[in-house]
């Protein structure tokens, strides 16, 4: 009744191509942005900002990158954490070695570095596909971390091998409180998410999806596989690199290669699968699921059981429940959480009619 498309006439191509064509959509998104940027920084506690929101946003960004590569372009890749590492170290080195480099420029350049590395490690995708490609991209993951670890230049020859990230200064303003970092991260993630959404709705996105669905046919109709696939790798690695820089600077505060290990790569893949492949919203939902659900379970168990049950058993039980929930959600909705949301929206459009 409220959320309907009937009666909305569009008189220009621009109107037709809107991301949020329905009025209610625009209002909701506007309210969400106001909430996220104006209200949350002022009311959220330190715990929520530092431990939950900032990592969620950062991992949503990585999941976006992973989704572009795996969900839209169909290249199953397990190297995202490696590209994050490239971004983190590139940002550190740019800020260290180039005097007066602005922070945002360093972040963008580190994304570009990650993109370059991504193109190199994306070359095998021209010949290898499917599960074989996934395992081949693990090579990039291990190799990148090894290189960053071994060659002291990246870490400025620090004896301990764990370097501290520089403070974030943009136009003379120091971003050091949690709320400020949150706003910065949210802004960057918002802009990049919008870019991603537009990219996948454009010709680039369609070329990716064509290659994903049937690459021989895509080649036949004129999409050359090499530029399409390598562009997917490049853009996906750009996103991962930017997220890696933010991870090191706005979240952890330290930059260490082994923090970007294979476990993280796997978790990023899990995020997009459970969130919904080929879905921008799915990246955010999946990141929330994989990142926040274990914390939620931990808090729940500790509150309910407290010191009554042995803590080791609690930790093991958290793992079991987490795994069981993954399987449960997959059985209920194999296409991921984003599909659940999509179904809800479709039902809303018809409301109050059933069909």
């Amino acid at each position: 009744m409220f959320y309907r498309e009937a009666g909305k006439f569009r008189t220009s191509y621009a109107q037709d191509a809107q991301i949020f064509p329905l009025g209610l959509d625009k209002v909701m998104v506007g309210a969400l942005l106001v909430f996220a940027f104006l209200i949350v920084p002022n009311i959220a506690s330190q715990y929520w900002l530092i431990a939950l929101l900032i990592p969620w946003l950062i991992f949503s960004l990585v999941a976006l990158g992973q989704n572009i590569l795996t969900g839209y372009a169909g290249q199953l890749s397990l190297g995202s954490a490696g590209f994050m590492a490239v971004g983190a170290f590139a940002c550190y080195n740019f800020l260290l070695r180039v005097d007066g480099m602005p922070f945002l420029a360093a972040v963008a350049l580190s994304g570009v570095c990650a993109a370059a590395v991504g193109i190199v490690f994306g070359l095998p995708s021209l010949r290898i596909r499917g599960l074989y490609l996934a395992v081949a991209t693990l090579a990039s993951q291990f190799f990148i971390v090894w290189v960053l670890d071994k060659f002291g230049w990246f870490k400025n020859y620090d004896p301990s091998g764990v370097i501290t990230a520089q403070p974030i200064v943009i136009l003379g303003y120091l971003f050091d409180s949690a709320a400020e970092k949150y706003v910065l991260v949210a802004a960057i993630v918002g802009v990049l998410a919008l870019a991603a959404k537009n990219m996948v709705r454009s010709n680039i996105g369609r070329s990716w999806m064509a290659v994903r669905d049937m690459d021989v046919a895509a080649e036949v109709i004129g999409f050359r596989p090499m530029p399409v696939k390598l562009l997917a790798f490049a853009i996906s690695s750009f996103y991962c690199g930017v997220a890696g820089a933010l991870f090191a600077f706005a979240y952890l505060g330290t930059v260490e290669p082994s923090a970007f290990n294979i476990d993280m790569s796997f978790r990023i893949l899990f995020m997009i699968i459970i969130g919904g492949v080929a879905s921008i919203l799915g990246s955010f939902l999946g990141a929330a699921f994989i990142l926040l659900l274990p914390i939620f379970l931990s808090v729940l168990f500790h509150t309910v059981f407290g010191n009554a049950v042995d803590a080791s058993m609690l930790s093991a039980t958290e793992l079991i429940v987490f795994g069981a929930l993954i399987i449960f959600f997959l059985i209920v909705e194999p296409h991921g959480l984003a599909r659940l949301w999509q179904v809800t929206k479709e039902k809303l459009r018809l409301w109050p009619f059933p069909h």
């Binding site: 199953l76 095998p124 010949r127 290898i128 596909r129 499917g130 599960l131 074989y132 395992v135 081949a136 693990l138 090579a139 291990f142 190799f143 971390v145 090894w146 670890d149 071994k150 049937m214 021989v216 046919a217 036949v220 294979i262 796997f266 899990f270 699968i273 459970i274 492949v277 080791s312 058993m313 930790s315 093991a316 039980t317 958290e318 793992l319 079991i320 429940v321 987490f322 795994g323 069981a324 929930l325 993954i326 399987i327 997959l330 059985i331 194999p334 296409h335």
Partner: protein, 300 residues
């Protein structure tokens, strides 16, 4: 020691280690062959199997009985997985099934640590991990008894599986299911029972792998990481070939050790992590489905 002796020692050690990798990879291949599912939980199954065996032995049960009981537990686990995880997800996309096995990994890891605790245990197979004196005295090369035993066991296992696949009714049914699910169903092969059997056999293979790796490195959580070592073996050999797994394991083990020994010190060491994967990429560039993998025919 002459440089030839050194090389021989590194090579033999590499080949034997490679067989250990193949043992783990075998479980992946079995499941992928029969149900086209990449079983992410194989590493966790290796851990769970070894832990269950040691846990039962610690309760005072004699070794052979404990072994039988553990085999029973793994078969039950396999059948349970088929019933509760795979059956509801029949016909779903390959990646959804992969994610389900990932959820399974968490469940099995948590279950193992909940039931048996997190202490590190040792497993005693009666064979010491020391060099064979005969070979050491005559050639100066050190070959571990346990490694050789593991190679023999792996060989026997592969031979048994090969015979199982080619000469028994169940084996024929497995091959039919691997070929085409729908066709197998149409000739009356009970798909779900076959899947249960395959997961049970994979559990058995996981148990053997767990016992041998546990004898080497102790039965503890790090066993789940042996699965990572098996992945390059899978790519090079192909996801669907049992003999391929052995050949690929030998290649990966030997090349990894030789590279680490000769090239490693020149670049600061630690290249074992990525070298097998880079090698796998090189193989794949020549044969994109692995040495013995099934060629994927794509129709437009």
């Amino acid at each position: 020691m002459s440089s030839l002796q050194v090389f021989a020692e590194v090579l033999i050690a590499g080949l034997l280690t490679g067989i250990m990798y193949s043992l783990v990879a075998l479980g992946f291949v079995l499941i992928y062959k029969a149900s086209s599912v990449f079983n992410f939980a194989q590493g966790a199954m290796v851990f769970f199997a070894a832990l269950t065996l040691v846990g039962i032995i610690e309760l005072g049960v004699p070794f052979w009985l404990a072994l039988l009981l553990t085999i029973g537990v793994m078969v039950l686990l396999g059948m349970g997985i088929e019933k509760f995880v795979l059956r509801p997800l029949v016909n779903q996309h390959e990646i959804t099934l992969l994610m389900a096995t990932i959820g399974l990994t968490f469940v099995i890891e948590g279950l193992a640590q909940l039931v048996w605790g997190t202490d590190v245990r040792r497993i005693d197979l009666g064979i010491k991990d020391i060099p064979i004196e005969f070979i050491a005295d005559n050639t100066g090369i050190l070959v571990s008894q346990l490694d050789l035993f593991a190679a023999v066991v792996a060989g026997a296992l592969v031979a048994t599986l090969a015979v199982l696949f080619s000469h028994t009714k169940v084996g024929r049914a497995l091959r039919a299911v691997a070929d085409d699910h729908a066709a197998a169903l149409s000739v009356g092969i009970p798909l779900q029972r076959i899947w249960g059997i395959v997961w049970g056999v994979a559990g058995l293979v996981a148990l053997v792998a767990g016992m041998l790796w546990g004898a080497r490195s102790g039965v503890q959580f790090a066993l789940v990481f042996v699965a990572l070592k098996a992945l390059p073996v899978l790519i090079i050999g192909g996801f669907t070939s049992v003999p391929g797994v052995i050949v690929a394991g030998l290649i990966v083990g030997a090349s990894e050790k030789i590279a680490e020994f000769y090239v490693g010190p020149m670049v600061g060491g630690g290249i074992e992590t990525w070298f097998p994967y880079v090698l796998a990429i090189l193989f794949l560039l020549v044969r994109p489905e692995g040495l013995y993998g099934e060629k994927i025919i794509r129709r437009v």
